[in-house]
């Protein structure tokens, strides 16, 4: 009697063994891949469209993120800040129309580079509230002015998070006077407190960025790329949760939603990024969208022609038997966002005042991608959003 009952068990066991033998060869290749370094991710990518893959190399994806995207973008951002410091020193020494325009140009360059850094709110960056100290807006100009007047302030205090970073620089470089001459005058006097504050804000940004870069040392990088499992604290889950959080808050809400009045009774046109420049808010949003697309598709920070294993590849692997790919939908939606943003006024403030409806439409186009990322993508990846600790069944 018992022997007969056991037969189906043996059958299932046999099928299981059969399957695992089929897959052993793949596993072997997998291990070789892991053993090597960066070149592998490039190699793997060339056949990332190959739907016959039987496993996905999570570690190669993490290496691509760390070595080709996160760390290079931090380095690029850091050197742009050092350049910013140089130009700021030149400007404060000789504040005139020319030095001001040079300084504004490097400020913009650095601000654009920041758009590639903000989404990676992990490790030291998360611990020291990096993104809040670099890009919280609107800037608190009363606080900035009182800091400058009193000369008593501590930029490390959270109450000063809105009086430092890019939007404070935006105020200091564009908003101090009626015109450029009036601005230059503020820096003209010897030992100008404005000059001192300008340099200190930049110094603080450099110090913080160096700290983050230091945080991405060999040890952290290695633990990052080895944390391949699917748990609430693993690298893949944390980075993707940060990515989606950034898309929803840092990108959708902060850059478009809040100023267009989506979350308030009335529009708030002074809440745009780089408000005082009066011309860069659209450019910054477009750059952020580009950074989002680069990360999603695994493009190298320094050379967008090169790609490594990415979320897109991971999705394509999971959807290898699907006709329409979610990754294509997401990329198409990112394209739509791009063209929608491009149709807006370069200065979102003007856009909101003149025709806020177009701004609200842009919000809707971005929101549609929140759904694709947060619902469709995370379902495919089976990753929990904003991990909540409780039992399930």
């Amino acid at each position: 009697m018992r022997k007969i009952k056991l037969r189906p068990v043996l059958l299932i066991a046999l099928i299981f063994i059969q399957c695992s033998i089929d897959d052993v060869s793949n596993e072997f290749v997998e291990e070789i891949n892991v053993g090597k370094s960066e070149e592998v991710s490039v190699l793997t990518n060339t056949d990332s469209k190959d739907t016959s893959q039987t496993s996905f190399n999570h570690q190669a994806m993490l290496m691509n993120w760390a070595d080709n995207i996160i760390i290079p973008s931090l380095s690029g951002f850091e050197s742009s800040l050092i350049e910013l410091k140089t130009k700021a020193s030149e400007y404060t020494s000789y504040p005139n129309a020319e030095t001001l325009s040079v300084l504004r140009a490097v400020w913009l360059d650095s601000y654009l580079k920041w758009q590639h850094v903000e989404m990676f709110d992990i490790g030291t960056a998360e611990e020291i509230y990096f993104k809040n100290r670099i890009n919280l807006f609107p800037a608190n100009i009363d606080r900035i002015e009182s800091n400058i007047a009193n000369q008593e302030y501590d930029l490390d205090q959270s109450s000063n998070f809105t009086s430092q970073g890019f939007n404070s620089l935006d105020y200091l470089l564009f908003g101090l006077g009626e015109n450029d001459n009036a601005i230059n005058d503020k820096y003209a006097s010897e030992n100008s407190n404005y000059s001192k504050y300008l340099i200190e804000v930049i110094d603080k940004m450099i110090a913080l960025t160096s700290e983050i870069k230091e945080g991405w040392n060999e040890e952290f990088r290695n633990s990052f790329i080895n944390s391949t499992e699917n748990t609430s604290t693993s690298s893949v889950n944390m980075v993707l949760n940060d990515f989606i959080f950034y898309f929803e808050k840092g990108f959708r809400a902060n850059k478009v939603g809040i100023p267009s009045g989506v979350f308030s009774d009335l529009p708030l046109p002074d809440r745009v990024e780089a408000y005082y420049s009066k011309k860069h808010s659209r450019l910054l949003a477009l750059e952020a969208n580009k950074a989002i697309r680069n990360f999603f598709n695994g493009k190298y920070y320094e050379d967008n022609e090169q790609v490594g294993l990415s979320v897109r590849d991971y999705l394509d692997y999971l959807e290898s038997d699907e006709e329409t790919k979610l990754s294509d939908k997401i990329n198409n939606q990112l394209d739509s966002i791009d063209s929608k943003l491009n149709s807006l006024n370069p200065d979102f403030t003007q856009q909101i005042i003149q025709d806020n409806l177009a701004m609200l439409y842009a919000f809707d186009v971005i929101q549609a991608n929140v759904v694709l990322l947060k619902v469709d993508m995370l379902q495919k990846l089976n990753i929990n959003v904003d991990y909540a600790d409780a039992d399930g069944d």
């Binding site: 009952k5 399957c19 496993s55 995370l378 379902q379 089976n382 929990n384 600790d389 039992d391 069944d393």
Partner: protein, 460 residues
């Protein structure tokens, strides 16, 4: 027929050791579960900290007790321990049932089938002579039962069979059997399991095998557990099945352990007697029962007479359990999508559903609106559960309506922009975006403001 029932009711007997064994394991597991829940800090995160709790329809009066919620759990700990040792059993088990059920009713966000299972089992145990043998009560009274009416044991057996059976037939649907969903989604993401993660878990064959095995297991296991010839091999499968679920889905919590220990009730009573005797010898060794030796000898035999009221009540309860999971048949539309009649029906680990929802607060006269940041009102866990369950969405809309009206908003209308993805399908709009949710009230009637699923799931 009447004679058969009467014979069954009054003549057929079971050894009390079976029920005593069940009482000890159930009480012990509940004690451990409560401790575990407490140690994970969930009392605070799930019951004390949230400003708002989602209520079960008809149980809106159940509220959290703030920091006194800890006292509820303490009461649960003490009563489950007393159930285990069989001290003041009736009072203890009733207390445990009430406390546990009350806690579950505080917030439906935390609904789990196995919490409902626990409440049901505790309810049945309130009426059973489970402390008539091998218990402190028996020791104190100096009497112990030699036999109990068999239906006392059968009530639990039948109930467990119903749970399995309904869990099984719920899996007879095209998503589960023909698409291997949601197991395909879930198992693929277990790539981090050693050995099998990158191999077996990635293979479509595994997903289908697991789906079919799960369905066949659930449907058949009650019958195999009931027949004496097959029950031990069936129990072997019980262990394999639940251990596997624990490995694949660690977040499933205590469920596997509850099922594995509960199913021991199907064993022959001689085994229960043996285990209890062994337990007694252990107790003697430790010297815990100072008079343990006399336990065996001095207790006078006691007969447990069948009780008509209890018999009828248990029959009604089981009949209710037979019908209640089928209530979904009364509703139109796709059950997995609308979730009308989904809960309390043993649909365990049955679907993968996620959503994203934005609430739009509109002033119908001024024609202005703004969106709500859900995180201002809900915990991440509540927001997640709310985003795809219609009754949560409606309840939250009314909560928001009251909140903003209290703040002085006028002519308030509430619309939602909501998208849900089910079992790997692309997300689609979930709630009619032009329907003012404040116009609907929670009830048992059909929620016609849910947009239909653009697909058909065939099956039971």
């Amino acid at each position: 027929m009447h004679k058969i029932i009467h014979d069954y009711y009054s003549r057929k007997k079971a050894h009390p050791a079976t029920l005593a064994f069940f009482r000890i394991t159930f009480g012990g597991l509940m004690f451990l579960s409560t401790l575990r829940f407490w140690s994970k800090g969930w009392i605070e995160t799930l019951y004390v900290l949230p400003e708002y709790h989602f209520k079960y329809f008809g149980f809106e009066w159940v509220t959290d007790l703030g920091n006194f919620t800890y006292l509820l759990f303490l009461l649960g700990l003490i009563s489950s321990f007393f159930v285990m040792i069989g001290y003041k059993y009736r009072l203890s088990v009733i207390t445990f049932f009430l406390v546990f059920t009350y806690i579950e009713l505080i917030d439906k966000t935390t609904y789990l089938n196995h919490y409902y299972l626990t409440s049901c089992l505790a309810f049945i145990m309130c009426f059973l002579p489970a402390a008539s043998y091998f218990s402190v009560d028996a020791f104190i009274s100096g009497k112990r039962a030699t036999a109990i009416p068999v239906w006392n044991v059968d009530a639990i057996k039948i109930f467990i069979c119903l749970v399995y059976f309904f869990a099984g037939i719920a899996k007879i649907n095209s998503d589960w059997l023909l698409e291997a969903q949601p197991l395909s989604l879930w198992l693929k993401s277990k790539y981090d399991l050693p050995w099998i993660g990158q191999t077996l878990m990635q293979s479509k064959v595994t997903h289908y095998l697991a789906s079919w095995f799960g369905m066949i297991y659930d449907v058949c296991i009650p019958f195999f557990l009931l027949f004496s010839r097959t029950k031990y091999i069936a129990y072997f499968f019980v262990i394999i099945f639940h251990i596997l679920t624990k490995i694949f889905f660690p977040s499933i919590g205590m469920f596997p352990y509850i099922m594995i220990t509960s199913a021991v009730i199907f064993f022959d009573s001689r085994i229960h007697i043996k285990i209890l005797n062994y337990l007694q010898s252990l107790i003697e060794k430790i010297g815990l029962f100072f008079v343990s030796k006399s336990l065996e000898i001095n207790l006078k035999p006691k007969t447990i007479a069948p009780n008509k009221f209890i018999f009828t009540l248990l029959c009604c309860f089981l009949f209710f359990q037979l019908l209640f999971p089928l209530r979904y048949l009364l509703y139109p539309g796709e059950l997995f999508w609308n979730e009308q009649g989904y809960r309390f029906s043993w649909r365990v680990m049955l679907m993968e559903k996620r959503g994203d929802i934005t609430f739009k607060i509109k002033d119908s006269v001024a024609n202005t609106y703004f969106y709500v940041k859900n995180e201002d009102f809900l915990t991440p866990f509540q927001e997640k559960q709310m985003s795809f369950q219609p009754d949560f969405i409606l309840e939250y809309a009314h909560y928001l309506g009251k909140h903003f009206n209290d703040k002085g908003h006028q002519n308030t209308q509430i619309f939602v922009d909501s998208f849900v993805a089910l079992n790997g399908r692309p997300s689609q709009r979930f709630i009619d975006p032009n329907f003012d949710l404040l116009k609907a009230q929670e009830s048992f009637s059909n929620k016609d403001w849910i947009l239909p699923l653009n697909d058909e799931i065939k099956g039971l």
